[in-house]
């Protein structure tokens, strides 16, 4: 399963909002997933915005392990932000093996790299994983604000519609819509698509 296949599936969509369950159904269609669960919790926005947690269950000896995914989103945030968190974390289902954080050392390193200053002098797997993690926000935008919808949004903005009105239709944070409508976005999206 690849992100490109998901992009291709949603690219032509103009009927907004794209619901999180639609993204999940598409992911399940493409790959082996035994369960993708979204669960909200009150999260302190200063400390934590969301969690992507994927594990294998071994329900019984000799039984096939089940691949489970839990995405935790802030139930105390606006729905538009909740959706953005879920979309961003969902993209991690497509993480290539090298980017998966699956032991304590990698987890410690990821937490440090995510919170520490960016350094051009550090090279290592942890730096790569943290950098790619930050990219996940950009990678999910073409799914929740597909290209065809973006074209309509540009036309609407040129006709005088505000970012806020467009964001309301898409049920996305205004700052995300603003980014997707910025002149730079076409190149950013092209780069994301080329990378996947």
């Amino acid at each position: 399963m690849s992100l490109r296949k998901l992009y291709d599936l949603f690219r032509g969509r103009t009927d907004l909002p794209i619901e999180i369950t639609e993204l999940r159904d598409a992911v399940v269609k493409f790959g082996p997933q035994d369960g993708i669960i979204f669960q909200g919790r009150d999260l302190d926005p200063g400390e934590l915005g969301g969690i992507f947690y994927q594990w294998k269950d071994h329900p019984a000896p000799y039984a096939e392990p089940r691949l489970m995914t839990l995405i935790v989103f802030p139930s105390n945030a606006l729905v538009s932000s909740q959706r953005m968190v879920c979309a961003k974390e969902l993209v991690h289902i497509m993480d290539p093996p090298i980017e998966r954080v699956n032991d304590a050392d990698k987890l410690k390193s990821l937490a440090e790299k995510l919170l520490g200053p960016m350094s051009s002098e550090d090279f290592g797997l942890a730096d790569l994983i943290a950098a790619q993690d930050k990219m996940a926000v950009y990678r999910c935008i073409p799914l929740v604000f597909p290209s065809a919808a973006r074209i309509e949004a540009i036309a609407a903005a040129e006709a005088g519609s505000t970012i806020e009105k467009i964001a309301e239709v898409a049920c996305l944070p205004a700052r995300i819509v603003e980014l997707a409508l910025s002149p730079d976005w076409a190149e950013i999206e092209k780069t994301i698509l080329e990378d996947c």
């Binding site: 999260l43 926005p45 594990w55 392990p65 909740q82 993480d95 609407a156």
Partner: protein, 154 residues
């Protein structure tokens, strides 16, 4: 020297270049904690040889004098208690085989890895205590194209 928290190769390099960087004694912070990456720091006016302790293991000796420069890319030490015992237990000790985990960090300046992990541990523990329940966020909006929605509403 015991090297519980560093690889041997890192210790050897530190022997050559690092100096008085990150001191924890019994869990108390002695100096500003070293963050990953190149770090300049040291104890001014210090004598030639200093031992520095990370966590509860003596990990090396600096050989510089005064201010030193760490040339080794160095991760700050997080032992199990720093990661948050609950998160560690959830991820590694309860029969689930971790495949992948990622966080969206909060926005506080100075948010520490420990606080992040503690918050994650708390949220996950609460969910597993209650039981998994699929409750995806729903927009509550009727589907519409932007063209139609904004033509109607202006």
């Amino acid at each position: 020297m015991a090297c519980d928290f560093v690889r041997w190769s890192e210790y050897v390099e530190m022997e050559q270049t690092a100096y008085g960087l990150c001191l924890f004694l019994g869990g108390e912070r002695q100096k500003d904690r070293l963050v990953p990456g190149r770090q300049e720091g040291g104890v001014t006016g210090a004598s030639a040889r200093k031992e520095f302790v990370i966590g509860h293991a003596v990990v090396g000796r600096g050989t510089g004098e005064g201010r030193g420069v760490a040339k080794q890319s160095w991760r700050s030490v997080m032992d199990e208690s720093a990661m948050d015992r609950d998160l560690h237990s959830l991820l590694f000790e309860e029969g689930r085989e971790l495949v992948n985990i990622k966080f969206l960090p909060g926005t506080n300046r100075g948010l520490s890895p420990e606080r992040l992990c503690a918050a994650a541990g708390k949220a996950l523990r609460s969910i597993f205590n209650e039981g998994l329940k699929d409750e995806p966020p729903v927009s509550g909006r009727k589907k519409s194209s932007i063209r139609d929605a904004l033509a109607v509403n202006g």
